[in-house]
Subunit: 389 residues, 2 copies
């Protein structure tokens, strides 16, 4: 009486990640070429701009419009650029999501139309969720405007907004149609933002690329001074490492046991929630990595010298390894919330050497508390988490 | 200065579609086995039930709970079954979506937990969208409770809710973890619902399976009398045709030119919107197919005898081929709304013989109006669209 048929569905997504400067210079063909990948144009498009970026770069919306006008064989801008609140507010509720849904509806963007989203990670996440769900997905071109977005989330396959006090509780896996990493968009970022973005570079270096770690140590004085070329190199290398991790893991939508590169992120998520957005994501990741690095050393997984190297690099880059909110964190609850978000059994990524990682499934909370104690003793170095900067 | 890296992501989804009867009979292992596919249990699960079904089948929620208790090695029900409004109301706004998000949050369902949704197509669509987006996707087991849901949407890869007055404006492509088609769930359906579900069987037969069309003609008297075995055969064959269409098309998420099997659906969507939900989806599809069949014949694509056979089968099954709302429909606007939803160039599926189809990209509206005239002349046969039934 019972009869089963097995359904098999195979999907492939191919998208370019373009590293460039001044993407809206009319002479720069990169963006128009991305539109051209979908056949003869012009293709309908809407543009969403992060208000923070728009304020820092007056004229950006006009330059985007002018670019589309010059490249009108490829791009037909069918609505004025929509400016939405930037920063964590963008994903604190559904306001940005709904504004972008309204744009797609009113501008009659169809599933083969384009939405170009220019902004920080939170705007990319919220507008990206809207793009992924309007008509079950219009084509999204991400133009990340923070170091963090360019080197990590902006090149990935996720989007989302917060709900129930949880980061990214509502979201989807949805590869973009293309990513344009325009280094010039980073020009006006505050030093704190730029430095915060370096945390993800340290992360991928520590858990998967010893050569990159060595290079970061070499570049550290230049990076600490926010040298443009050094930052571009670090960000690009970090982005490519994330791209490789997603593509090579065999489970890009994390349906099974595949994990994102989330070393240090259980504590980071909890710290961001606990501080109500006062910490930048990268700042929280730096503290989270420092904690897990000391924990790994304490439980004998990581040589002490390697742990010192990780903390030393973070501090050299001006990233604080301690935040007072960590002192009060309910660590078992934070680990459990992290497990629940990823699903299934707990997987924590820890380094076993510079460039190598393992997944652990249990936490020795006494050792973790001891690691926290040690970290508290390191105090707060000069850096972006200092009050007054 | 510009440098591009090509990201390639490959994904595979495998899910079983189980045809059974009395899935909550403790002796029926089908549902527990679906949980077992994900490894040793018990696995956390929540259950969502369509209020219409719950009313028609008193004790269903209790039977579901009892089933989980018997199969506690596989299933751990972590919250009482949640009953949500059924029918088109379920997807008219975000109320059901939000209720299911709240359930997943409060019951601490993670990405490797399960949500079992039992109900008609609208509840599956709304709760399915919530499941696809909570934690970026918890595992969804669909138990469709209408013929239409069992033979079409319930086995597919889409979900969604209405917005801006448009059907399914917000949604996602998200394969289920499994589908359990329990024929016993259909036992209490009103005759009108069951008959409406046959429209999709006619659809797949007309545009892709001449043998199935012949079989439907053979079974027509039994189907018209709502014979249980005949309905089960028709529904199963229809479901399998939909599964094959999705898997074999090479573009299951419809990112390019691949199309769902949507013969007759442009007018159906418009009729459903115009009548504010008074027409069942299948009833609207029957009228839409009749219109497009006559149009195909009028423009010389389809032999007249085949057109007569299609209309004859619909009428034999008790499906009306005309609805007064069609008389006032702005047909060019409806075609354009349909094009926009699917995206890109217009693709309308028309039959060129029983079992064969082509895609056309232009409409001769004079011929379409003439086809509508002809259809109006056929009047309203005895059938489910008659007032008073």
């Amino acid at each position: 009486m019972t009869w089963t048929t097995a359904q098999h569905i195979a999907l492939a997504f191919d998208f370019p990640v373009v590293f460039t400067r001044n993407a809206f210079d009319p002479e720069n063909a990169a963006l128009a070429e991305v539109f051209g990948r979908s056949g003869p144009g012009p293709h309908r498009a809407g543009v969403v701009i992060d208000a923070g970026l728009a304020a820092a770069m007056p004229g950006l919306a006009d330059r985007a419009r002018a670019y589309c006008a010059v490249h009108d064989a490829a791009i037909r801008l069918v609505a004025p650029p929509l400016t939405v609140p930037g920063g964590e507010r963008a994903k604190a509720d559904f306001a940005v999501v709904e504004a972008v849904w309204k744009l797609t509806y009113e501008a009659k963007l169809c599933r083969q139309s384009f939405l170009v989203v220019i902004g920080g990670g939170a705007v990319l996440d919220a507008a990206g969720f809207a793009a992924a769900t309007a008509h079950r997905g219009v084509r999204l071109i991400r133009m990340p405007s923070t170091a963090l977005a360019q080197n990590d989330a902006g090149v990935g396959v996720k989007n989302g907004v917060n709900a129930f006090g949880r980061k990214n509780y509502i979201g989807a896996f949805a590869p973009p149609y293309a990513v344009i990493n325009d280094h010039a968009l980073l020009a006006t970022l505050p030093a704190r933002e730029i430095r915060s973005g370096l945390a993800e570079a340290v992360k991928v270096a520590v858990v998967r690329d010893a050569d990159f770690f060595a290079r970061l140590c070499e570049l550290a004085p230049l990076l600490a001074a926010l040298d443009c070329d050094a930052l571009e190199e670090a960000d690009r290398r970090c982005a490519v490492a994330h791209l490789e991790h997603i593509a090579s893991g065999g489970d890009p939508f994390e349906m099974g046991s595949a994990r994102p590169l989330d070393f240090g992120h259980w504590a980071a998520h909890a710290l961001e929630e606990a501080t109500g957005g006062d910490m930048r994501h990268g700042e929280a990741v730096a503290v989270g990595m420092a904690l897990d690095t000391l924990y790994a050393a304490r439980v004998g997984l990581l040589p002490r010298a390697d742990a010192d190297a990780v903390l030393g690099l973070l501090e050299q880059l001006g990233l604080a390894v301690w935040h007072p909110a960590l002192a009060n964190l309910d660590m078992p609850a934070a680990v459990e919330a992290f497990r629940e978000h990823l699903g299934g059994r707990l997987h924590l990524t820890l380094p076993t050497a510079i460039g190598r990682r393992i997944e652990v499934h249990d936490v020795d909370y006494a050792s973790l508390a001891a690691a926290r104690e040690t970290l508290a003793g390191r105090g707060v170095p000069s850096g972006p988490a200092c009050p007054g900067e």
